[in-house]
Amino acid sequence: MNVLTDNFHTYAEGFLGTLELTLYASLLALALGFVMASFRVAPVRSLRVFGTAWVTVLRNTPLTLLFFAVLLGLPRFGLVLPFDVFAVLALGCYTSAFICEALRAGINTVPTGQGEAARSLGMSFGQTLSLVVLPQAFKSVIPPVGSTLIALAKNSAIAGAFSVTELLGTYKTINELGYNIVWTFVWIAVGYLIITLAISALFNLLERKYGVAR
C-alpha cells in the first residue's frame, strides 16, 4: 500500500500524462477520422482514393513502428517538436483510421431509403450527409467509437517507452527506488482501469441519451 502513498506524486504525474495524451489524441483522431470518413464517401474520386489509402496503410501499421517513424524519423526531417506532441500526432493519426472505419460502418447502418428520400427531396450530397445520414449514423456509432477510444487510451502506454511522461513509464522511477515491483504494477493497472472505465461510462451515458432504441 505504501507504494502508492510514498510515490503518489510520481503516479499522479504519470496518470495526468496518460490522461492528457488520451484526451488530445482522441480529439485529433475524431477530427481526422471524420475528415477521412467524408473523403471516403465523397463523390470525388481522388479524395476517395486518398481516404482509402490513409485508412488501409494506417490500419496495417504496427503502432510501435509509427511511433518509431514519427518520434525518431520526423526530427531527421528538420521538424523538431516536444516528444509529447509527436506522441499525440502518432496516436491520433493511427486511431483516426479506426474512427474513420467506425463512422463509415455507422453510415452503412442507415437504411438506403433514408438517403433516397433525402435525394428525392432535392438535397445535395452535403445536405444528405449532414442533415439526414450523419445524425442517424451518430447514434449507432457511439459504441464502436467508444471502444476505439478505449483502445487509444491503452495504446498510449507505448509512448512511455519513447521518453514521454505517462503512467506505465512510472514503473522505472519507482523500481529504481527499490519498491515492490508487483505492487508498483498493480497500481499502474488500477490507473489504466480508471481511465478505460471512465471512457466506457461516458459512452454508456452518451448511448443512453442519444443511442438508437433497438
Binding site: 463523390p43 518509431f68 531527421r76 526531417f77 528538420g78 463509415r104 435525394r119 491503452k154 489504466y192
Partner: protein
C-alpha cells in the same frame, strides 16, 4: 465515379463537370503534398550514398532478415497459443458450471481491459522472464481473451434450431458443442479470428520495447549508427513496407475468407457478421479488419 450510391444522385452533365473540377483540384493538392514531401526528403539528404550503402552489405541484410525471422517466430508462437487459450476460455465461459464460468469470465474481462504493454512489462520486469517468452505470454493472454469472446459470440450466433435438433438426436452436451456448434461457429468467425491475428502480428513489434531482437530492433541498430549518417528515414522506408505488407496480406486474407464464407451454404445457420444488404456505400467491404 460511376458507382451508384444512395448518398448522391447519378450526376448530370453540369455536376459531372463540377466534380471533375473538384477532382482535378484535389488531385493537384495531393500531388503537391507528395511533391513537397519528396522535396523535403531530398532537401534533408535522405537519399545520399552513405545512408543507403549499409543495406548493400550482406551482414546488414542478414541482421534485418534475422530480425524479421524473430518477429515471425514470436507471431507464430503467439498465434498458436492464443487460439488454444481462446478455445479454452470460450469453453469455460460457455460451461454450465458456475465454478468454471465465473473464473473464465473474470480472466477474459481482466485481460481485455489491460493494455497489452502493461502485461508484457509486468511479465518481463516483475516476473523476470526473458524477452521472447514475456512477449509471447503477454500477446497470448490478451489475444486469447479477445478470441475467447469471438468464439463465444460465434457459438451463440449459431441458430437455436441446430442445437435443439442435435439434442433431439440424443447427442450429449460435449457432442453438440464439438460436432455441431463449434465447426459452424469457427467457420463463420474465421474472418474475425484472422483479423485478431493481424492484431497479434502488429503487436509483436512491442517486443522492440523489451529489447527482444525483432525486426524494428534491427532497424534501430542500423538507424542510430553515426557511421551510416543516422539513416532513420531510409530504415523506415525499408522496414515499413515489409511490416505493412505482411499485415495487409493477412487482412486481405481475412476479407477474402469473409466474402467466401458469406456465399458458403455451410454458414447459413449462423447470423452473418458483416453488414447485410441495404448498405449506403458502394463496394463497402465493412470492417472485418484489424482492430486498434
Amino acid at each position: 465515379m460511376t458507382e451508384a450510391t444512395a448518398l448522391y444522385d447519378v450526376p448530370g452533365p453540369h455536376t459531372r463537370r463540377r466534380h471533375a473540377v473538384y477532382g482535378v483540384l484535389s488531385t493537384a493538392v495531393i500531388l503537391a503534398l507528395v511533391a513537397w514531401l519528396l522535396y523535403l526528403l531530398f532537401d534533408t539528404g535522405q537519399f545520399t550514398y552513405t545512408k543507403w550503402m549499409p543495406f548493400a552489405y550482406e551482414g546488414v541484410q542478414e541482421l534485418l532478415l534475422r530480425g524479421l525471422g524473430n518477429t515471425l517466430k514470436a507471431f507464430a508462437f503467439a498465434a498458436v497459443l492464443s487460439l488454444a487459450l481462446g478455445g479454452l476460455l470460450a469453453a469455460g465461459r460457455l460451461s454450465d458450471h458456475r465454478t468454471v464460468r465465473w473464473p473464465a469470465t473474470l480472466v477474459v474481462e481482466f485481460f481485455r481491459a489491460m493494455p497489452v504493454l502493461v502485461m508484457i512489462f509486468f511479465i518481463f520486469v516483475a516476473l523476470k522472464v526473458q524477452p521472447l517468452p514475456a512477449l509471447v505470454a503477454g500477446l497470448t493472454l490478451y489475444n486469447g481473451s479477445v478470441l475467447a469472446e469471438v468464439f463465444r459470440s460465434g457459438v451463440n450466433a449459431v441458430e437455436r434450431g441446430q442445437r435443439e435438433a442435435a439434442f433431439a438426436l440424443g447427442m450429449r452436451k460435449t457432442q453438440v458443442m464439438v460436432h455441431v456448434l463449434a465447426p459452424q461457429a469457427v467457420r463463420a468467425m474465421l474472418p474475425a479470428i484472422i483479423s485478431q491475428l493481424v492484431v497479434a502480428l502488429k503487436d509483436t513489434s512491442l517486443g522492440f520495447l523489451i529489447t527482444y531482437e525483432e525486426f524494428l530492433h534491427a532497424g534501430k541498430l542500423i538507424a542510430s549508427n553515426l557511421d551510416y549518417d543516422l539513416p532513420f528515414i531510409p530504415v523506415v522506408m525499408v522496414i515499413s513496407p515489409i511490416y505493412i505488407g505482411m499485415c495487409m496480406l493477412l487482412s486481405w486474407f481475412a476479407g477474402w475468407v469473409s466474402r467466401r464464407e458469406q456465399r458458403s451454404p455451410k454458414t447459413e445457420a449462423v447470423v452473418p457478421a458483416t453488414a447485410g444488404p441495404g448498405a449506403l456505400l458502394p463496394g463497402g467491404e465493412p470492417p472485418m479488419a484489424p482492430r486498434p
